[in-house]
Amino acid sequence: MAAEAGDRHTVEQSARPARSARRWYWLLLLPFAALLYPPLYAHDAPHLFGIPFFYWYQGVWLILTAGITTLVYRRTR
C-alpha cells in the first residue's frame, strides 16, 4: 500500500495552495443557493423560445456553474 510513498516531490513548500486562494472555493456554494429553493424559479413565465422559466433558468445555471468552476480552477491552481 505504501508503494507510492517514495515519489514525494520536493516542491511541497511552494505548491501548497495559499489560504487566500482557497477563499474562491466559497463561490461553489452559489449553484446550491440558486437551485435548492425551487419556489425561486418554479414559474411558467417568462418564456424563452417557448420554454417555461422553470426549465431555462436551470439551463442558465448549468452554464453559470461551469463558469464558476472554471473561475475557481483558474484562481486556485
Binding site: 500500500m1 505504501a2 516542491v11 437551485l35 425551487p38
Partner: protein, 518 residues
C-alpha cells in the same frame, strides 16, 4: 405503437456499430501497453488518463443507457418532478471539484484502489472498510441490472423478440472486460459518446421542427400532464413537490460520486487537475441530459402511447427517424449500457478483491493474484446482473436502484467527509452507517419504493427524498456518538495518511507545466 415490428435497416446498423465496439474493446488491451496482470493496470488503467480520456470515461460512466431511457420516461409520466435529474447533474460538479482531487491524491499516494481502501487507511478499521465495500457492491449490482434493462428496451423496440440478444451482448462484454480491464470501457466510451452527441443534436433540431417548435411542445405537455394519474405538473407548485425536488437534487448530487464506478473513473485520471477540468467539461453531458429529458415532452406532443414509459424515447425515434438512423441512435443507447456496465463490474470486482478477498481470505495475495481474482469476479458480477435482468421484473430492478442510492450515500461521512477531517470516530461512523441503512431502507419500503418520504414529527411535516433523510439520521448519530465512543476506545488506530497526502499538487503526473500558484 404498442407492438414493435422488425426493422431490418435499424438492426443492420445496430449490429455494425456493435461489432465495431467489440473489436475496439478487445484491441484496448494493447493500447498504452502495460502489464494487465497488475490490478492497478487492469482495474484503474494505470491512473494515467489525461483530461479528455477522463472526460469520455466519466461521461460514459455516469450518463448511462438507463439514464437516457428513464429520465424521459419520468418526464413523460411525472412531468417536472423528473427534471430534478438536470439540477442534480449541475450540482454534482462542484461536489466533484471539491472532493475528487483530494480523493485522487490520497489514493495515488498510498496506492488505494477503492474507497474502502482509503477508509481502512484513514481509520484503521477493517470492519468499517468492509461496510463501505459491501455497500458499494450492493448499490452497484442493481445498477448494472438496469443497464441491461436499457439494452433490452432498445433491442425490443427494433422488433427482436427474446432474451438471447442481451445474453450474447453480455458474453461479449464479459470477455473483453476480462481481457482489457478499464481500458476497454475507456476506448468504447469514445464511440458511445460521439454516437450519443450526434443523436441528441439531430433529435433536438429535427423533432421540434416537425412538432411546431418548443412553445407547442411545452404547451402540449402543460395540458396533458395534469390529466395523468396521479396528476403531474409542467411546473412544480406544491411545497411537498419543492421539498422533494430540492432534496432529490442535493442527495443525488452527493451520492453519485460515492458510487464505486464513479470513483473508479475519477481514480483513473492522471492528475487532480484532470479531475478539476472535468468538473467544468462534464457539464456538456448535463446539457445533453437536459435535452434528452425534454424528449419526454416531445413524446407527449407527438401523441405517442408507449407500451410502458421506458419506450418513450425508442418510440419517439421510431416515429421521426429513418430506420437506419434509428439503428444508429439505438446503438448509441446500447453501447451506452455496455460502457457503464463494464466500469461497474470492474469497480465491484476491485472492492471484492481488495476489501473482502485480500482482507479476509488471502492477506498474502500479491498484485498478480489480486488481478486474477478481480478478472474472475468481474465476470461473476456480470453473470449476476444478467440473471437479475432476465428473472427480476423491471419494477423490482428500479426499486433496488432507488435503494442503491439510499445505501451508497451512507458512505458519505466515512469517505468524502473524511477527506477533510479525521474527527469522526470509527465506531460512531459504523453506527451512523447502520442507522442510515436501516432507516433509509424502511422509509423507501414503506412508500412502496417511491423516492419521497412524508415525514411528520408533531406539527412539523415535510416530504423529502428518503436518502436525504437517512443521511441526516446517519450524520446525527455519527456526530453525537463520536465523542462518546472515542472516550470508550482505549487504543484508536493510527491514521496512515498525512495532511499533505491530500494535496494533489504535490503528486506525480502533473500534465501541465506551471501549475504552481502565482
Amino acid at each position: 405503437m404498442d407492438k414493435h415490428t422488425v426493422h431490418p435497416a435499424a438492426i443492420v446498423v445496430f449490429c455494425i456499430l456493435f461489432v465495431f465496439v467489440t473489436v475496439v474493446g478487445f484491441a484496448a488491451a494493447r493500447w498504452r501497453k502495460a502489464d494487465l496482470g497488475h490490478l492497478n493496470e487492469w482495474g484503474l488503467a494505470g491512473r494515467k488518463f489525461g483530461t479528455w480520456l477522463t472526460w469520455f470515461l466519466i461521461g460514459g460512466d455516469i450518463y448511462t443507457a438507463y439514464t437516457f431511457i428513464a429520465v424521459p420516461a419520468a418526464m413523460f409520466s411525472t412531468g417536472s418532478a423528473g427534471f430534478f435529474a438536470f439540477a442534480y447533474t449541475t450540482l454534482v460538479f462542484p461536489v466533484l471539484f471539491v472532493f475528487g482531487p483530494r480523493f485522487w491524491a490520497v489514493c495515488k499516494r498510498h496506492g488505494y484502489i477503492t474507497a474502502a481502501d482509503f477508509v481502512q487507511g484513514r481509520f484503521g478499521s477493517s470492519t468499517l472498510a468492509l461496510a463501505v465495500a459491501l455497500t458499494g457492491i450492493l448499490a452497484t449490482m442493481p445498477y448494472i441490472g438496469l443497464q441491461l434493462v436499457g439494452l433490452k428496451t432498445v433491442i425490443a423496440a427494433m422488433g427482436i423478440p427474446g432474451d438471447w440478444p442481451i445474453i450474447v451482448a453480455f458474453i461479449v462484454l464479459a470477455a473483453y472486460t476480462y481481457q482489457s480491464g478499464l481500458r476497454a470501457p475507456a476506448l468504447t466510451a469514445i464511440a458511445k459518446d460521439i454516437a450519443i452527441y450526434v443523436t441528441v443534436t439531430v433529435a433536438i433540431i429535427y423533432i421540434p421542427i416537425k412538432l411546431g417548435g418548443f412553445g407547442h411542445i411545452f404547451n402540449a405537455a402543460g395540458s396533458a400532464l395534469p390529466k395523468r394519474t396521479p396528476p403531474a405538473a409542467l411546473v412544480p407548485g406544491k411545497s411537498a413537490a419543492y421539498e422533494t425536488y430540492a432534496t432529490l437534487a442535493l442527495g443525488s448530487a452527493f451520492a453519485l460520486f460515492l458510487y464505486p464506478h464513479a470513483l473508479t473513473g475519477a481514480l483513473s485520471a492522471g492528475s487532480g487537475h484532470a479531475i478539476r477540468r472535468n468538473a467544468t467539461l462534464l457539464t456538456f453531458y448535463s446539457f445533453a441530459l437536459g435535452i434528452i429529458a425534454i424528449f419526454g415532452y416531445m413524446a407527449i406532443a407527438a401523441h405517442l402511447k408507449p407500451a410502458n414509459p421506458n419506450f418513450t424515447v425508442p418510440d419517439l425515434f421510431i416515429r421521426y427517424f429513418p430506420s437506419w438512423f434509428e439503428g444508429f441512435a439505438f446503438a448509441a443507447i446500447g453501447v451506452g449500457a455496455l460502457v457503464p456496465a463494464a466500469i461497474m463490474a470492474i469497480a465491484a470486482a476491485n472492492l471484492f478483491t481488495r476489501n473482502i478477498y485480500k482482507q479476509y481470505a488471502r492477506p498474502q495475495a500479491d498484485a498478480r493474484e489480486e488481478a486474477t481474482v478481480a478478472k474472475l469476479v468481474s465476470v461473476l458480477v456480470k453473470a449476476g446482473a444478467l440473471v437479475f435482468a432476465l428473472f427480476v421484473s423491471t419494477k423490482s430492478a428500479i426499486d433496488l436502484q432507488l435503494l442503491g442510492g439510499v445505501w451508497i450515500i451512507q458512505t458519505l461521512p466515512a469517505v468524502f467527509l473524511a477527506l477533510y477531517t479525521r474527527w469522526f470516530h470509527r465506531w460512531a461512523l459504523l453506527a451512523g452507517w447502520a442507522v442510515g441503512m436501516a432507516t433509509g431502507t424502511i422509509m423507501a419500503a414503506s412508500q412502496s419504493f417511491k423516492s419521497a418520504f412524508p415525514l411528520s414529527i408533531g406539527s412539523f411535516k415535510v416530504t423529502m427524498y428518503s436518502a436525504f433523510l437517512a443521511i441526516l439520521a446517519n450524520l446525527i448519530v455519527t456526530i453525537v456518538l463520536t465523542p462518546i465512543t472515542r472516550r470508550l476506545d482505549g487504543r484508536e488506530p493510527v491514521d496512515e495518511t498525512a495532511d499533505d497526502d491530500y494535496l494533489d499538487v504535490n503528486a506525480e503526473s502533473r500534465d501541465e507545466p506551471g501549475l504552481i500558484p502565482a
